[in-house]
Amino acid sequence: MLKFVIARLLQGILVLLAIYAVTFFLVAATPGSPFSTERAIAPEILAQIEAFYGYDKPTSERFFTSLTNVLQGEFGPSAVYANRTVTQIIAESFPVSLLLGSLALLVALGIGIPAGILAAVKRNTWLDYIPMSVSMAGICLPTFVMGPLLALLFGLILNWLPVGGWFGPEFWILPTATLGLYYAAYFARLTRGGMLEMLNQDFVRTARAKGVPETTIVLKHCLKGGLIPAITFLGPALAGIISGSFVVETIFQVPGLGQWFVRAALNRDDFLVLGLTVLFATLIVIMNLLVDIAQVALNPRLKYD
């Protein structure tokens, strides 16, 4: 097991390095400069600014400097928001995004998995059809459709909830629901599929014949194996929640990192784009690592290759 974890860890580091390199050169290939403004700047001053940020050096040299800096946890200054470092911006906004993302994941798992188990156990009854139709509808309503619709219904028509800002728990509900319900739909379908596969196994028939109560069969015998598809989906779900936050934070004016990313990419705020990409990629790589470990732990038949 330890060997497996170390191998996956090394692989994760490799992936991160590759992501960093690709991001760096993509950003460097973007036309324009982070320092161009609408006002004309004297060429000498522009040259000084560029020298200050290290932009007078060739791209390959900048790549290695920036890589060493990032490895030391030094993400550099924001090129557009003067006097703020990338670390400061992350420290300010990350807690908000973390709260939003965790709540959304909680909603996704807390609704999706029980609904999926229920649908599998009560297969072909209305307890199966209704959650599954609702989840299909959920999958077809991505965040940028669901968000405005929820805001329209609960915020503007019914006037129950605030539709913008981030000042307290009542402000959390709509963004969390928008982000979480979409993945709840996925988790429900995956859990149902996984549980059905387990419930059709021979050992379940044996257990039933021996008179084991149905709850024990479902919760003790089948749950572990039945959850594997849902757990596999955790990695993509986290990636989706991160990119979903770009949209949700814009719609509901949440002061989190997602808003920053798109703005930074459009404004060519190179250091901020790189810093955020590293952060997002690290989160996803860690999640994938945990998923891999959990999968092997749940299904010993998977060899640690």
Binding site: C140, L141, F144, L149, G193, V247, I284
Partner: protein
């Protein structure tokens, strides 16, 4: 233009060759009321988007600033937007672009995925495991971030979007084709082809790929909504289709900005977009059940 037609064409070709697989699949699909209903709804939406603008008296980009935003009326069935443009025609035009992106980007993903997967499966051994390891690595990468950076770096052209989205969505396609090819390549007809001295290329293209068409069609049908979703996501963020051109993503974004006063600007494009995704997903599920009756019903 609609993807299912290409599926039907392929089915016809296969029929001429005397296979009954497609016939069986078709009769199974017909019994699936949800899939058939979705197919008809989808065809209706496609025709609505293609034919609609020719019939409608309104132009998608003609503004009428004195009119402004109005609710649905006898003249403008879906209402007009803030610049006085007829929303129904804009939804039709937006649908054309969204469906076109769905189709073309899926074809890009299909070509990459099928060729990559078939090669990996056919060659086997170390090459295969290296190639599939690479796919595993790509799965772990947050692609939306890269697509966003790509669109910023190389301008927001429609063609770049086709390629960028297609390059992201080929991974599952490659996996499915590979496992299909591995199952097939030990069979006698491949051995026969090898002993006749056919080239590897010919064996892959003419003998192996046609035999994995079933699962490929299923996954392609399910890729179309995924691709359309990504396009709408980019357009919503202002990185995809650029105004005054419209896609459903652009229209949803415009509607979202004005929904407090003019909710219909959001509701119409959102309804068309969601219905299309809904239909495509059900058609894909139905095709899977029809083409591969052994696979569990979910």
């Amino acid at each position: 233009m609609p993807p299912p037609i290409s599926a039907a064409e392929i089915a016809d070709e296969a029929l001429v060759e005397g296979s009954s697989l497609w016939k069986d699949a078709w009769s199974r699909l017909r019994k699936n009321r949800l899939a058939v209903g979705s197919l008809f709804t989808f065809i209706f939406i496609v025709l609505f988007c293609i034919v609609g603008p020719w019939i409608s008296p309104w132009e998608a980009n003609t503004q009428d600033l004195f009119l402004g935003a109005t609710g649905p009326s006898a003249q403008h069935w879906f209402g007009t937007d803030t610049l006085g443009r007829d929303l129904m025609v804009r939804v039709m035009y937006g649908g054309r672009i969204s469906l076109l992106v769905g189709l073309v980007a899926t074809l890009v993903a299909l070509s990459i995925g099928v060729i990559y997967g078939a090669t990996a499966g056919y060659v086997g051994g170390r090459t295969d495991s290296a190639m599939m390891r690479f796919v595993d690595l790509l799965y772990a990468i947050p692609f939306t971030i890269f697509v966003i950076l790509l669109m910023v770096a190389f301008g927001r052209s429609l063609w770049l979007m086709f390629v960028a989205i297609g390059a992201v969505e080929w991974l599952s396609m490659a996996r499915i084709v590979r496992s299909g090819v591995i199952g097939l390549k030990k069979q006698e007809f491949v051995e026969a082809a090898v002993s006749l001295g056919y080239s590897h290329r010919r064996i892959i293209l003419r003998h192996l790929i046609p035999n994995v068409l079933g699962p490929v069609i299923v996954i392609a049908t399910l890729t179309v909504p995924a691709v359309m979703l990504l396009e709408a996501f980019l357009s919503f963020l202002g990185l995809g289709v650029q105004p005054p051109d419209a896609s459903w993503g652009v229209l949803i974004n415009e509607g979202q900005q004005n929904m407090e006063i003019y909710p219909w600007l959001l509701i119409w494009p959102a309804a068309f977009f969601a219905t299309t995704l809904f239909c495509l997903n059900f058609i894909g599920d139905g095709l899977r059940d029809a083409l591969d009756p052994k696979s569990a019903k979910d």
